[in-house]
Symmetry: C2
Subunit: 250 residues, 2 copies
DNA sequence: GGTTGTATCTCGGCT
DNA sequence: AGCCGAGGTACAACC
């Protein structure tokens, strides 16, 4: 019944019916057909592929190309039932199913490789350079947006969500700032909704808008400027260069 | 210089400096540290992971959990340079780089498994049940939207892109229909832009709007109805059940 | 090649 | 648990 053991370098000769959780990654290279029935239906004709089964039961079917996305897969948590090939048949059937009833049926025709490996817990990825960091950086350098500008607060709350930065310009006027890594139409629409709402508040109005991003797509710029929103392209490296080390996220 | 051979079941004992394209998948299980420098910077501390190198040079770093997304990766096309561990050092360095100058540096501390496999070309995934199919189905059943409605055309062209369906209601009024699998705010904004444009055309105006989806998020519904756009939840299975077999996409 | 819109998106944060 | 926004989004279709 045990389909793999910790630190095993190859799969046991008589692999069982149920995949056990917590025993590492199993890697198969095999000719297989795969059918997914769930949020959509999809079918993979017979071909040689890499099948990876992770400790949480999730399954990935990779071809020798494409990017990191598998041809087909099942996300955890899910259960894997393995039916051994019968004597007169030349294939095994794996039935992978999750709580929502989505199914992955893998028919294994010929196995080229089969091994299992214990990996342990991963410390995880450390990121830098994303929107959250841009927001922190710009919040400490609102002068980039205009002389004598000051920060009111980050994540300024509104009924439809927080505005990235709320500032005061040199004349004391309120300015809502939307920050993106890449400025596209969606971001302009988002800022527009904020501005419409904020300008209904007599204590704040008039509120002007700034759309700030490392890169602003032409269509987004056109839409923004047509609505009286100023566009500012941010230089991440320059902002980072002037950064006070004590303000670092990491 | 040759790092793997076709149909090899294990990596050659003296793997070289350059990964050769077109020779299948290489799978490593090893303790490694990984650094990505590109659109962001990211770091993976030392841990045991699965490293998959595909024929096109792309690299995937998988942990024993999470979903199909690798912890870190490099998309093709890219080149992989492998520097052998020197005698007194206990690690090898892989340098993966793409045309844009993004880099993945993989330091291999200890190898638990190393094998290569020729897979051949994959016939690819056959899908069903996506938005294109919903559009075809609804186009043939516009009566779902209202009695005596008729289809003017699918993909009705406008200056800012095609409207999914253009219909006439029982009174001969024009109706623009936006179809999504999941109806969210973006879809409402998209339809709003179409309606604004279409209503500037005196030959068409007035044009009303229908937002049709298998599932409509509350915020999207609120926004749509506030703008006078009717929301319709589609039953995919019911539409499919009444389908003329000759109209199938597949 | 750039742009647009979808995705079995995935992933994280927050309510 | 659901909702919402961001992503090294990836990916395909279309212009």
């Amino acid at each position: 019944m045990l389909s793999m053991r910790a630190h095993a370098n190859s799969a046991p000769p008589n692999s069982g019916c149920v995949h056990r959780y917590g025993y590492g990654v199993r890697i198969l290279v095999a000719t297989c057909t795969v059918d997914y029935v769930g949020r959509l239906t999809a079918h993979l004709p017979a071909a040689q592929r890499v099948i990876m089964v992770k400790a949480d039961g999730s399954v990935l079917i990779h071809a020798d190309g494409g990017s990191y996305k598998p041809l087909n897969w099942m996300s955890p948590p899910c259960s894997l039932k393995e039916k051994e090939a019968e004597a007169e048949e030349d294939h095994a059937l794996w039935l992978v199913e999750n709580k929502a009833g989505e199914q992955l049926r893998i028919t294994i025709h010929e196995v080229q490789h089969d091994s299992a490996h214990e990996l342990g817990i991963d410390p995880g990825l450390q990121k830098d350079g994303v929107e959250a960091h841009l927001q922190v950086l710009l919040a400490t350098h609102v002068n980039v947006l205009g002389d004598e500008w000051s920060l009111v607060r980050r994540e300024f709350p509104t009924a439809i969500g927080p505005v990235d930065l709320m500032c005061k310009d040199a004349n004391g006027g309120s300015v809502a700032v939307e920050i993106k890594r890449r400025g596209e139409i969606d971001g302009v629409e988002q800022l527009t909704r904020y501005l419409e709402l904020l300008n209904r508040d007599p204590l704040l109005a008039p509120v002007s808008g700034v759309f700030a991003a490392q890169e602003i797509k032409p269509q987004a710029r056109t839409l923004a400027e047509d609505r009286g929103i100023r566009c500012v392209v941010l230089d991440y490296e320059a902002l980072k260069g002037t950064e006070d080390p004590s303000l670092r996220l990491f």
